[in-house]
Chain length 410, copies 2
Amino acid sequence: MRAMAKAARAAARGLARAPAEAKAKALIAAAVALRHGAEAILEANARDLAAAVAESNAFLDRLRLDEARVEAMAKAIEDVAAFPDPIGAVLARWTRPNGLVIERVRVPLGVVGIIYESRPNVTADAGAICLKAGNAAILRAGSESFHSSTAIAACLAAGLAAAGLPAASIQLVPTRDRAAIGYLLAMGEDIDAIVPRGGRGLIERVRREARMPIIAHLEGVNHTYLHANADPAKARAIVLDAKMRRPGVCGATETLLVDRGAAPALLPAILGDLAAAGCELRGDEGTRALDARVRPASDADWDTEYLDAILAVKLVAGIDEALAHIARHGSGHTEAIVTEDKAAAERFLREVDAAIVMTNASTQFADGGEFGFGAEIGISTSRLPPRGPVGANELTSYKYAVRGSGQVRG
Amino acid sequence: MRAMAKAARAAARGLARAPAEAKAKALIAAAVALRHGAEAILEANARDLAAAVAESNAFLDRLRLDEARVEAMAKAIEDVAAFPDPIGAVLARWTRPNGLVIERVRVPLGVVGIIYESRPNVTADAGAICLKAGNAAILRAGSESFHSSTAIAACLAAGLAAAGLPAASIQLVPTRDRAAIGYLLAMGEDIDAIVPRGGRGLIERVRREARMPIIAHLEGVNHTYLHANADPAKARAIVLDAKMRRPGVCGATETLLVDRGAAPALLPAILGDLAAAGCELRGDEGTRALDARVRPASDADWDTEYLDAILAVKLVAGIDEALAHIARHGSGHTEAIVTEDKAAAERFLREVDAAIVMTNASTQFADGGEFGFGAEIGISTSRLPPRGPVGANELTSYKYAVRGSGQVRG
């Protein structure tokens, strides 16, 4: 691990100075290599799947690759390649009264460690985004996806070689031994930031052991709040999308809050849509009075990230109660209000403390691609930056370039 | 400590929404209270000094307050009050093809813990900067400055009361028990960022134990590099200022690198200035051949932050060797080149990996006030933001405000 970290640091020095064209060339060549190597990748994936037969269907689905998924990986890398290069951009410039010209210039973070679980496509996504941002990546794939990730990493290596960039720019930890994670987390001097992608157990281990800054997504207990002045048609379309478009993504709505006075007019059609789409409904008494299919919600429901076709529904007296509920139960990921009342919308945007706060839109827009970030490595729920979707721009830092003409402080 | 953290979280919610005027009013009232309370502060300081008689003169100087220092604290708080309010600023705004309008809006970090050592003025500075940024502050003063800090904190509390802001916006840990630091560092859920200000021992303890992001200044092993094309007069003025203006500040130059070919023309006058100002000189053989007063430097000198009137001097073959020396020995704080060669200057700015990189200016400009940040809580040497001088703007985060008109992802 030490040798990997040392090689990563040297590669990061080279990458920080690499021209934008070289990084784009490496990414495009990696996409070509992925397409050419599809057969080998699927063979490796079959070995991983064979070893994981005892796992759940959801687990196997995350692990499984097919030709479409390999093509999607290649396409995603091409998208990252086409994105404007973040490095060297002047983020701010000002001149001091003494004539010093100060610039804040975007630079890479350095060496980024990424620890992830079963999805092998993270190898391609994370490697590509790190490279775009000029960072050397140390990837620790889930042990269950080890063969798949190794085959994908070989394609990234081919891309780096084609562009003449250091081979150690993207390294996969070459062992399934879980002790490697402990070593990785202890290398506070060698790794500038760590990105855990996985379940609560992984995130908590990283929080406990990491000796470097963490860019982490904890969970998305997201709310959609239907204000009394919500447009019924918008509310109906937004709630169905926010919950059921893909119930398993972190931006999915988990709890629906509805102003009590408007609930009889708004809720029946919405609950009907959800039930018809196969969504299990759990609600408070007021909700259950409106629809007999709604099962009673327990206290735990208000704090649960289902990541599944289940929705908790609660009536509130108004925006004050909605804001208080979100402050208490929200996880700081994505929160939305549906209303035609501009003052209520602006108050919600201002007062809700979450990475993403929305008006009149589906919480499933919580996504780096939808934000225009090209691709994302995840959505950070920490308060410190980077917060929200983390794309190549967000995996950077800055330094100050100060140009003088002989100034002294005296 | 739990109760303090809980009160801080509630205060932070209020502060996040507090109007700019209320925060400024609290700061101005705190400055008034400091001036009115000067006598009580100096009495408290006398108790601290009496208990610290066994300490070094440098330590006692850091601890000692007098009327001028109390006035300087009050003035610094007024400067923070006059600075533009950071919160609510729209840092970026763009519209997506689907009509979603996305804004990145500046928000407070939340609850910030500050652990510091002997200088009691940090109580005033840190409290004021945190308040300006809308953060609740938990201040853990050095046990030696406990009475002084308690008296200063009372003035900040008076300011908060005058503006009707929550009393828990600025809390001083009410005990000298060092175990409190351990409790503070363990509260990863309750404190959003921790700022250690002190010696290496404190920083290392914080790195080891903190369960939250750290905004830390490690050390400033800063270099000034005199390139072959340096203007001799600028070089002479810059080096004297960079080392001797205040040798004990973190932006002071600790090592001087000089192009070998230009050294006979540049160095004698510079070394003469430094020796006349009382600076001890340590150098490699080439330097010693130019001035008999220069003592031999050991390997350890190239890695030492003297914070004192001592300078290490080394001749280099050219910019390549200078860059390599800085990459190996620099601490990522502040690095400067003196040259009239634009290409060399730009290469230095681009390739040196440090929070602040300068051309033709004294490294002692590494200071939030000199950058126009109003005041600073320190200079961060970490690679992740905030990097460099940390003022009120840098003690903030952001959230995304997304305004829709019924969009769904579908």
